[in-house]
Amino acid sequence: MTTEKKIRVLVAKPGLDSHDRGAKIVARAFRDAGMEVIYTGLRQTPEQIVETALQEDVDVIALSILSGAHMTLFPKIMELVKKRGLDNVLVFAGGIIPQEDVPALKKIGIAEVFGPGTPTDTLVRFVRENVQKRR
C-alpha cells in the first residue's frame, strides 16, 4: 500500500468498569475511519495501558471510564506516559466524567474529555487533527 503513516489508536479501559459498550462503539468508529485500533478489553491497570501503548507504538490513547475513579487512575497513567517517554502520544478520555474534574485532567495532559452522546464523527475529527499536529 502507500507509505502514508497509519494512525494507530489504543482504546483502553482503566479500572473496574463492568461493561465496555461505549469503548467498543468508539473503537468501531475509529476502525471505520481507516485507523488501526488496538483493543485490550476491560479492567486494565495504568501499567498495562502504558506498556501496551509503548509496544504497539500508538499515536493515540483513548481512555474510557465509567467507574468514577478517573481522578486516581488518570494521573497515574499520565505519570507513566511521561516516565516511558511517550510525550508525543495524544491522550484523551471519555465516559462518565463530571465537568468540574475536566480542568484538573487537562492540566495533567489529558487533551480532551468527551461526555456521553458525543457523535463519533467529532472524535474521529479530533484525533485526525491532533495527530497531524503532533507528527
Partner: protein, 325 residues
C-alpha cells in the same frame, strides 16, 4: 527524515533489547518508510537464533488464548518471548480492529515479553507484508522464542510456512467432519495439530478425524505431526503442547532446519527480485509515456492487456541487452 546515524542508533538500541526502539522500528517497517531496507540489512546478521512458532487456525478456535498460556509456560522455563499477532485490515476502509491482545494482557507488563499487533494491510496469505521483517526485529532483539499468530485462517492462508519453523494448527471440535480434514491448504501445513476446547462434546471425534487424515499421508515422513488436546482457558494440555513444539524444534536442528531455511530464503529472494523488477520496469514505462500509450490502445480495443504487456516487455528487454553491451 532519519539520517544514517539515527538509523544506526535505533538498530543498536534494538540489539540491546530496548522496547521503545523495537516498537518504533516495527512501525517504520510497517509503513515501508525509506530507512526500512537499511534497518533490515543492519539487523539481519543478528537474526536466526530464535525458535519461530506459527499459530494458525480458524477464527474463534482459541489461538490468542492458547498463545497467552504458551507464553506463560515459556516464561516459567526462563525463556524470553516475542509475539506478533495479525488481524485483518478492512478492504473497504483500510481500518482494522486488533483484538488479539484482549486475551494476552496478563503479559503486557512482563519485561521478558514483547507483543505487537499487526494489521494485514491488504495481504491475503494470513500475515501482514511486514510480519516477516517484524519477526527479524524481535529475533535480533534477542528473544528466545517468537510466536506469530495469523488472522483467523480459512483454508488458503498458508504464508505462515514462509515465516515459522514450527507451524501449530489450532482447531476446535464441531468445526467440520473428516471431509474438512482432508481438504488442501491449512491441513497440510501443520507440524503440530491442536484440538482446543477439549472439554466440548466431539473433541475425541475431532482428534480421530485429524489422526485419520495424517494416517493417509502416503509419503513416509520423518516427522509425523502429533495431535494434542488442550483447554486454553485453563491451560490444560499446554505443557504437553509445548513439549511437542520443542521436540519439533530439536527434530529440525537435526538437519532439516538448513533445508527449510534455504527454501525460505529462496522464496524471500524471489519475492524481493520480483518486487524490484516490477517497480523498476513499471516506473520506467510510466516515465517514458509508453504505459499511457498502450493504455489508450487497449481502451480503443487495438490491443488486449496481455499482448500490450508482452510488447512492452519485449521492447524493454531489447533496451537492457543494448545497455549491457
Amino acid at each position: 527524515m532519519n539520517t544514517l546515524t539515527q538509523v544506526k542508533q535505533l538498530v543498536n538500541s534494538v540489539l540491546k533489547g530496548d522496547r521503545k526502539s523495537i516498537a518504533k522500528t516495527i512501525t517504520l517497517i510497517e509503513n515501508n518508510l525509506p530507512e526500512t531496507q537499511e534497518i533490515i540489512s543492519l539487523l539481519y546478521p543478528h537474526t536466526g537464533k530464535a525458535h519461530i512458532i506459527g499459530v494458525t487456525g480458524p477464527a474463534g478456535s482459541g489461538k490468542s488464548t492458547l498463545i497467552e498460556k504458551l507464553v506463560k509456560e515459556l516464561r516459567r522455563n526462563g525463556k524470553t518471548v516475542g509475539v506478533a499477532a495479525v488481524d485483518p485490515t478492512s478492504p473497504f476502509t483500510g481500518g482494522a480492529f486488533l483484538g488479539d491482545r484482549v486475551r494476552m494482557q496478563d503479559l503486557a507488563t512482563d519485561n521478558g515479553v514483547f507483543i505487537r499487533s499487526m494489521a494485514t494491510r491488504g495481504s491475503l496469505g494470513g500475515l501482514a507484508k511486514a510480519t516477516k521483517d517484524a519477526v527479524k526485529v524481535l529475533d535480533a532483539a534477542g528473544k528466545d522464542v517468537l510466536i506469530v499468530e495469523t488472522v483467523g485462517a480459512g483454508q488458503t492462508e498458508v504464508d505462515i510456512i514462509k515465516v515459522a519453523h514450527t507451524v501449530v494448527v489450532v482447531l476446535a471440535p464441531g468445526l467440520g467432519d473428516d471431509i474438512q480434514a482432508i481438504k488442501a491448504g491449512q491441513m497440510e501445513i501443520g507440524d503440530v495439530f491442536v484440538i482446543n476446547k477439549a472439554d466440548r462434546e466431539n473433541a475425541d471425534r475431532a482428534v480421530s478425524d485429524v489422526e485419520a487424515m495424517l494416517e493417509m499421508n502416503q509419503e513416509k515422513r520423518e516427522w509425523r505431526p502429533p495431535v494434542v488436546k488442550t483447554l486454553a482457558l485453563t491451560g490444560e494440555g499446554v505443557p504437553e503442547l509445548l513439549e511437542k513444539i520443542s521436540q519439533h524444534g530439536s527434530y529440525l536442528k537435526g538437519g532439516v532446519l538448513q533445508k527449510r531455511s534455504l527454501q525460505r530464503i529462496e522464496s524471500e529472494l524471489e519475492e524481493a527480485i520480483k518486487l524490484r523488477i516490477t517497480e523498476t520496469v513499471l516506473n520506467d514505462f510510466k516515465k517514458t509515456g509508453k504505459f499511457n500509450e498502450f493504455l489508450h490502445k487497449i481502451l480503443e480495443k487495438e490491443m488486449d492487456p496481455n499482448s500490450a504487456a508482452e510488447a512492452l516487455l519485449k521492447q524493454r528487454l531489447k533496451k537492457t541487452v543494448r545497455e549491457s553491451k
